[in-house]
């Protein structure tokens, strides 16, 4: 009896019907878009089904988008937060401030500071329900939205909204978002590729506490024996944006450049599209482009065309353009159709290096 009660308790709790909150899809989206300042802490589980090839260029993205991640969050505001990706063997923590980011990896004992970057590859913070939902719903139009039945997430009654992107370039079929109706904090996001019944990426709070975490939780005081290092750039996208002698086009494959933070404009790297439709353009040096081409060429289902070497991984497509000077090339990647990448590759084929 006791064992049965222990086993049944969580299911009984979830079976209690959730009352309807009186919010339209547009109101839910507006609440979500203004939720970046909602202070909270919690425990997030994310599941990714996108098998990104293990390549140095992509660093931790394969783990982020292709595996289950357990993440602890301390959020005091859009520019003061800490996100821990916890593993059985340790954890990788990101401490964020307006001026930059500190990354702590327990197993190696490394603490590395990088300045705030206008553009970077996705990291653990980008798969949090809050960050993911705000990105997915950014620029959504009323015709793309519909209401979803409310559901209980992490013990809270959450209101739901579904987005079906209308862009022809989109490879995402729909994104389902559930948020706390009082604060707008997204609690669960499921992103589906076209033709898929299981989410390509799902992220949800398993526990959430809507009180402000202590200031001490988001500050880092190095433990004994740890040297804090400084890195010029955070990843390959930031490095390319900082040093590559290119100016990214304003529009690519019919997609407009995505608005970033005005104080941190992008240069060589371009980010295009709106909502869940994202196209990334990164000029790569030969020493980065060549191994990536080789890695993609070894990936099952590789496409070798006049546009370059590409793979389609569910909703995510990746393409490296053919060799330019000394093996360099352009990396085009994003949640767009393979045809969109081919079109983008054709548009940047004649892009010339410049210094301005």
């Amino acid at each position: 009896m006791l064992a049965a009660a222990v086993v049944a308790a969580p299911y009984v709790g979830r079976a209690v019907p959730v009352p309807d909150a009186d919010l339209s899809p547009a109101q839910v989206v507006a609440a979500v878009e203004s939720s970046a300042a909602v202070e909270h802490s919690g425990y997030v589980e994310s599941d990714g089904a996108i098998q990104v090839p293990q390549a140095d260029t992509f660093e931790g993205i394969a783990t982020l988008l292709g595996e289950r991640n357990r993440v602890r969050v301390y959020w005091r505001g859009a520019d003061d937060w800490r996100v821990d990706r916890v593993r059985a063997t340790g954890e990788t923590d990101i401490f964020h401030r307006p001026e930059g980011t500190l990354r702590w990896v327990y197993e190696s004992g490394n603490a590395t500071v990088t300045r705030a970057a206008p553009v970077r590859l996705p990291d653990t913070s980008d798969v949090l329900p809050g960050q993911l939902a705000r990105r997915v719903l950014d620029g959504a139009t009323a015709s793309e939205l519909s209401a979803l039945a409310p559901r209980r997430v992490a013990g809270l009654e959450a209101v739901g909204v579904r987005l079906r992107p209308s862009d022809a370039q989109a490879s995402i079929d729909r994104a389902d978002v559930w948020a706390d109706p009082d604060t707008g904090l997204p609690l669960r996001v499921d992103v589906y590729a076209a033709g898929e019944t299981r989410p390509s990426l799902s992220s949800r709070y398993a526990d959430v506490d809507l009180t402000a975490p202590a200031a001490s939780t988001t500050s880092f005081d190095p433990p004994p024996g740890t040297d804090v290092r400084f890195d010029e750039t955070i990843d390959v996208a930031d490095a390319s944006n900082t040093f590559a002698p290119y100016r990214a086009p304003d529009e690519l494959a019919g997609l407009q450049a995505r608005e970033g933070r005005p104080e941190l404009p992008t240069r060589a790297v371009g980010v295009y599209g709106r909502g869940p439709t994202v196209l990334l353009f990164i000029p790569l040096r030969g020493r980065a482009a060549e191994p990536l081409r080789e890695q993609l060429a070894r990936t099952p289902g590789v496409r070798e065309t006049a546009s370059g070497t590409g793979v389609d991984l569910g909703p995510l497509s990746i393409l490296v353009t053919p060799e330019r000077r000394r093996g360099s090339g352009f990396l085009l990647a994003g949640t767009v159709t393979p045809q969109t990448l081919d079109r983008a590759a054709a548009e940047v084929a004649d892009l010339r290096a410049r210094f301005s």
């Binding site: 006791l2 064992a3 222990v6 086993v7 425990y43 783990t63 602890r72 821990d84 916890v86 593993r87 059985a88 063997t89 340790g90 954890e91 990788t92 923590d93 702590w104 990896v105 327990y106 197993e107 190696s108 004992g109 603490a111 398993a206 526990d207 939780t217 880092f220 005081d221 190095p222 433990p223 004994p224 024996g225 740890t226």
Partner: protein
């Protein structure tokens, strides 16, 4: 009766040989780490193994993490499986019960003896780990402070408290194994059968943990939260899995021990 069983446990060479073998692997790992200075890459290898290169204070935990997935549960399964079935196998169970010794008294004494073995094994692995860590591995910070998994500093008192909590947690996890072995031991006259049945259950649990299709079962699998003691060394402590692990092992303990008692007190003893 309890005293008799405890003395028997401590006087048996098998008990100490098993515990010595449990310590062999962590000691070998410490020697290899000391000689090569090569730790595992992030996300691979047992927890705390990279940290002990600079500070041996955490080696008791690394030693437990090394033996926890396989060696410790196998040892506990062997000792637990032998409790009743071993007496039956050697033909002494009938004589014990006609002596007369109450069945409840006998099984409680066996339970206490198995619990004592689990506690002894965990403590000895931790103590040997501490000694080996101090002798072979890094000296750490002179103040005694140790880096938590989250990159904060833990002073020696905090480390001692959390280590004790971790030892208690590992002991409880192994008591779940012992309870299952004891239950199976009441069903069979073969000690090895009871031990293998327990190990098979744990292997099945580990296989199901790696299977996405078994998602709904995973929170109830006995091995699901075994390594959650690592969460005690995060800052702030991540209690989520630790609490779930304690509740789960507590439930297994109650159910298996209750079933073992119910079966043993009502069965026909023929050997």
């Amino acid at each position: 009766m309890i005293r008799v069983e405890l003395v028997k446990l401590l006087r048996r060479p098998r008990t100490w040989v098993t515990i010595a073998m449990l310590n062999a692997l962590p000691t070998l790992v410490a020697v290899l780490l000391a000689l090569t200075d090569i730790g595992p890459r992030p996300g691979t290898g047992p927890p705390f193994l990279s940290a002990v290169l600079t500070d041996g204070t955490l080696f008791p935990l690394a030693a437990l993490a090394i033996v926890l997935p396989l060696f410790l549960p196998v040892a506990v399964a062997v000792i637990g499986g032998e409790a009743i079935a071993g007496e039956a196998q050697t033909g002494t169970l009938r004589y014990l019960l006609v002596r007369p010794v109450g069945r409840t008294r006998l099984i409680v004494a066996k339970m206490v003896s198995v619990v004592a073995f689990v506690l002894l094994a965990v403590v000895v692995v931790a103590v040997v780990g501490y000694v080996v860590g101090q002798l072979l591995l890094g000296d750490g910070d002179p103040s005694g402070a140790v880096a938590s998994v989250s990159g904060t500093s833990l002073d020696s008192t905090q480390i001692a408290q959390r280590t004790l909590l971790a030892l208690g947690y590992v002991t409880l996890s192994m008591l779940g194994v012992a309870a299952l072995a004891l239950l199976l031991s009441t069903f069979t006259d073969s000690a090895i059968g009871a031990a293998l049945g327990t190990v098979a259950f744990l292997v099945a649990s580990t296989v199901l943990l790696g299977l996405d299709a078994a998602d709904a079962l995973q929170p109830w699998l006995p091995t699901r939260y075994w390594l959650a003691f690592v969460d005690l060394f995060r800052d702030p402590i991540l209690w989520r899995d630790v609490v779930r692990g304690v509740l789960l092992q507590g439930a297994y303990l109650l159910v298996f021990l209750g079933a073992a008692w119910a079966n043993f007190t009502t069965k026909d003893v023929t050997s």
